[in-house]
């Protein structure tokens, strides 16, 4: 018989030891000599994963279904391989953002959402409190079993009074411990040195206890005599559970080892140095291996020693030493189990209480104080809330244990609890690697997963505990078999955990992705996504640019002081100022960076979402919409656009320059042409003038000239004077046409009439030169829209040219009028020397006459003027035909349609010159 006093004394002594270790470690930390800043301590603290459920339950599970129990450790072992990237990333993000819990992590990731943090907290509490109850039950059981030493007796239904219930006492003690070492300061993101040290010690204790018991029991098993082995030994049966279940449960455990609140607490929040993760990657799996080393031998021994099956396999760890009459070993195992249970309870409670206070209660308080600065004593109030939460959670756990007792709902809670926290996986892992997740997406995913979990796992466990009608499990609501909780959509044959895990995670992921896809992440989500996904490149990130508004540094400091105390706040602001190269923290600029710093500082105490709300209450933050973020991004693209614009403009400038150059070239050309024209005009004027002056002077100086010579010279004078006046009028004419100052009197003109008029005007010249004129003109009037006088001028020009170039006496000039397409063509030909091919364009240039005709006979302006006139009337004038047979010049004018003529005089007056 082991006396109650001994057991209780031992338990208290053990807890006292924990207090001592924790106290010592805290003192050391205060002196700046941390005892837990060591990778091995970190790895040991991770072993809080192994709870009483491991310590006692693994053996039970092995006794019942063989190697099945290994899945719980295989998953984490495999997961540890990924820690180098996944866990390191989580730790980095959490350090940078001063994350306080998994709820804070998820809430912060999706735009510092309070609602999301609250939902995570609710899921965690609902999923984990029964798990705490399980630990309390294990402690109570082990106490009772030990109490009956040396008798092996299963604990009965606890009808003890409350004060006699060890579980209750232990729960209160644990609450005290947790409050003492878990809430020394408000900054939950700071490490709880004493706590971690105590957890590491607990991990060592439970491992040592298990190994010692394992070695001893194995030794006894191998030396058992006279005991026949039972007919079947499940642990040794080759019956391996279905592969699917192995995979599912391994995966589940892999997720749980990252996402359980207590695991997040020790692995992420309490992590002192990211490099510690590296040792944990191999040390933690090694720990799991060692603690499972003797599970099978112990299970076999239990089945051999207690063949009747009246001893619960979950108690083999304790009942075997009792059976072997080893009181000290039994006490050691008791302490080991106690350490496994208390470690879990303490860390889980701290994690949950932080979540409850920061993500559930504080947001509600802040909501009530919406817009106003939080009350001055909020810091102290928050600590009180956190302590209250610790007590409340432990009491809840205890009540659940008392209420559920032996029920399936408690016994099976381990894995069901795992599935609940596995719901965090999409939001956490997706949040670390996918930028597209939104707050609504995470909310939808978590809600969907949680509801399916309740439906497929929690409610059936209630049903199996007979708290709900069993029929509920067998058919869905309203008899819909498709919705049967254990065979959703007709999926049967799976382990219920596999089934629940599959459906809950499927619903979770689908909802998360689908709802996230509904909209683009907003500004805050996008900013947070950047911080979480790109944490490795954090140095390059500047969140400050996303903050707009005004703030008082003093107010930010006052806010921080309420939660962190004057001293710590001063130190933190001092460090921050120093980092920014400012000597006096009071001189800090109240910019985005400072506000961001204050918010991060506060996050450590109250969580990201609440910190955001509180900082917002003392600052005048201008809402940052997506469009503002876009505008920030736009600035860059605007600069790009601006430089493109510059580029475009400089190109345009180049083009304009080229155009100018071209215009200048043309101006120069025109200027040269003008000079040439002036020069030509001058030349053409000076030549007759020279003759006129010379003969005038000769006549003047020689009064005795013979009459005949005098008459000849006077004749030259007259013709040169005519030439001069003709030239002057033609130059003026050309200038008028070119400058558009001609009064065009357009009307319907018959070309036959024009021919007659032109022939009359040139009749004398033709007759003088003895030239024969032939006409080939249709009888029907050829009507055109033209200025009659100008047209006569053109034809006179052509006819006199022809007459001049045609050989005298034998000269022939032809006039031919034909219809040509939509117009009339009039050609004048002669039998003169013709115009060489090369000169055909030149004849229309001013003062250019075909050289082949010898000395030019005209002014050299007739053809240029004619061409101008014809083109003005909408026609064209050109040199046709070949050489040898004389020159042929033709012009074409559009025919005048009678229909147009019928429109009347109004039409005629407004008719444009050009057609």
């Amino acid at each position: 018989m082991i006396g109650n006093a001994l057991i209780i004394g031992l338990a208290f002594a053990y807890l006292g030891l924990l207090f001592g270790v924790a106290y010592w470690a805290d003192r050391r930390a205060d002196q700046g000599r941390s005892v837990i800043a060591h990778p091995t301590i970190y790895a040991l603290s991770l072993a809080v994963y192994c709870t009483a459920w491991t310590f006692y339950g693994s053996v039970g599970r092995a006794a019942a279904s063989g190697l099945d129990f290994l899945t719980i450790y295989l998953g984490p072992t495999l997961m540890a391989l990924l820690w180098g990237s996944l866990l390191v990333k989580m730790v980095r993000v959490s350090k940078a953002e001063r994350i306080t819990s998994i709820a804070d992590f998820i809430g912060s990731r999706y735009g510092k959402s309070q609602v999301l943090g609250g939902l995570v907290t609710v899921i965690a509490v609902v999923g984990v409190v029964p798990y705490i109850a399980l630990q309390l039950k294990a402690i109570a059981w082990s106490f009772q079993i030990l109490h009956h030493y040396p008798e092996v007796r299963m604990p009965g239904d606890g009808d003890q009074p409350l004060w006699g219930d060890t579980a209750f006492v232990i729960a209160l003690l644990l609450a005290a411990f947790t409050i003492l070492f878990g809430t020394r300061q408000l900054d939950a993101s700071e490490r709880h040195e004493g706590l971690v040290a105590a957890i590491a010690v607990e991990s060592l204790v439970k491992l040592v206890a298990f190994l010692v018991a394992g070695v001893y029991i194995t030794y006894r098993l191998l030396n058992l005599e006279g005991v026949a082995p039972p007919p079947s030994l499940p642990p040794l049966s080759p019956d391996i559970p279905p592969l699917l279940d192995w995979l599912a449960i391994s995966g589940l455990a892999a997720l749980a080892v990252m996402l359980l609140p207590r695991q997040f607490q020790v692995a992420v929040v309490e992590n002192g140095d990211v490099r510690h993760v590296r040792r944990a990657i191999w040390l933690f799996p090694l720990y799991l291996f060692l603690i499972n080393l003797f599970v099978l031998p112990i299970a076999v021994a239990g089945l051999v020693v207690f063949p009747d099956g009246d001893v619960d396999a979950d108690t083999f760890m304790l009942t075997l030493p009792i059976a072997f009459e080893q009181p000290w070993l039994a006490l050691l195992v008791f302490v080991g189990g106690l350490s496994a249970a208390t470690g879990m309870v303490i860390v889980e409670t701290i994690a949950l209480s932080t979540m409850v206070s920061n993500d559930l209660i504080l947001p509600l308080l802040l909501r009530r104080a919406r817009g106003r600065s939080p009350p001055a004593d909020l810091g102290r109030r928050l600590l009180a809330i956190r302590r209250g939460a610790i007590v409340a959670i432990l009491l809840l756990g205890y009540l659940y244990y008392r209420f559920a007792g032996e029920a399936y709902a408690l016994v099976s809670i381990g894995l069901i609890s795992f599935v609940a926290v596995a719901q965090f996986a999409p939001a956490v892992i997706g949040g670390l690697y996918w930028r597209g997740g939104t707050r609504e997406g995470a909310l939808a995913g978590l809600s969907a997963g949680f509801l399916v979990w309740v439906y497929t796992l929690l409610l059936p466990s209630f049903a199996k505990s007979a708290w709900l009608p069993v029929a509920f499990m067998e058919s869905g609501p309203g008899g819909l078999d498709l919705l049967a909780p254990l065979a959703l959509f007709g999926v049967v044959g799976w382990n219920e955990i596999t089934h629940g895990l599959f459906w809950s995670l499927t619903a979770n992921i689908v909802a998360f992705v689908a709802v996230s896809a509904l909209r683009e992440p907003n500004a805050v989500e996008a900013a947070q996504a950047r911080l979480f996904v790109d944490v490795e490149r954090r140095a390059a990130l500047k969140r400050a640019t996303l903050w707009r508004g005004s703030a008082e540094v003093a107010e930010l400091r006052a806010l921080a002081e309420r939660f962190l105390g004057v001293e710590r706040t001063q130190a933190a602001f001092g460090r921050f100022a120093q980092a920014r190269g400012i000597a006096d923290p009071a001189a800090l600029p109240a910019d985005g960076e400072t506000v961001d710093f204050a918010e991060t500082l506060l996050s450590g105490a109250v969580g990201g979402a609440s910190a955001r709300v509180m900082v917002a209450s003392v600052t005048d933050e201008e809402a940052i919409g997506l469009d503002e973020v876009l505008s920030i991004l736009d600035e860059a693209s605007q600069i790009r656009a601006y430089s493109r614009e510059l580029e475009r403009k400089s190109l345009a400038l180049e083009a304009a320059t080229a155009e100018l150059r071209e215009a200048n070239r043309r101006l120069t050309e025109l200027d040269r042409m003008k000079d040439d024209f002036m020069s030509s005009v001058t030349h053409e004027l000076r030549t007759p003038l020279a003759s006129i002056r010379a003969f005038s002077e000769i006549l003047h100086d020689d009064p005795d000239l013979p009459l005949e010579q005098r008459r000849r010279f006077l004749g030259i004078l007259v013709s040169e004077t005519e030439r001069l006046s003709r030239l002057v009028s033609q130059v003026l004419d050309l200038a008028k046409i070119e400058s558009g100052h001609v009064d065009w009197r357009t009307e319907v003109v018959s070309l036959q009439a024009v021919i007659d008029q032109a022939l009359a005007a040139t009749g004398r010249l033709v007759a003088e030169r003895g030239i024969e004129v032939r006409q080939d003109v249709p009888a029907a009037p050829a009507l055109v829209w033209a200025d009659r006088d100008r047209l006569v001028q053109v034809l006179v020009n052509l006819l006199s040219n022809a007459a001049k170039f045609a050989p005298p006496a034998a000269g022939r000039v032809g006039i031919r009028l034909v219809a040509a397409g939509p117009g009339w063509r009039l050609c004048v030909s002669d039998n003169g020397p013709g115009i060489p091919e090369a000169d055909r364009g030149l004849v229309f240039e001013k003062f250019r006459q075909s050289a082949s005709g010898g000395k030019p006979l005209g002014t050299g302006l007739g053809l240029p003027i004619s061409r101008q006139i014809v083109e003005h009337l909408g026609g064209r004038l050109w040199v046709a035909g070949g050489t040898g047979k004389g020159a042929t010049l033709c012009f074409e004018l559009p025919a005048h349609r009678p229909a147009q003529a019928e429109r009347g005089s109004d039409y005629d007056q407004t008719h444009p010159d050009h057609r």
């Binding site: 000076r686 002056r693 100086d701 030259i716 040169e720 050289a851």
Partner: protein, 124 residues
Amino acid sequence: MTKRILIIDDEPNIVISLEFLMTREGHEVRVAGDGEAGLAEARRCRPDLIVLDVMMPKLDGFAVLEALRADPDLAATPVLMLTAKGREAERRKGLELGAEAYMPKPFSTRDLVRKIAELLARDA
């Protein structure tokens, strides 16, 4: 003293007036209607002075002058240029190419006669 004067000009009326003036001074006058003919005539008749127009068909006055100066037999023959393009640049160009005198059209008959006498006297 009778001198041989070659007139190269394409304006018949100018030629008539020049011919009259030179003949009246007692000189022998030869006439060519364009640059090419003028150059050929100059080589044939070896004039004592050449009156040269600038704007002419086939070969302009400047080209004729260059050809004359390039011909050893004619390089020394004085040339008086007459031109209707009275621009300074052309006057300079003519003198640079070796014309002895340059007169713009319309010209004074008295100045022309005096200038020709001057050139012929210098030559002698």
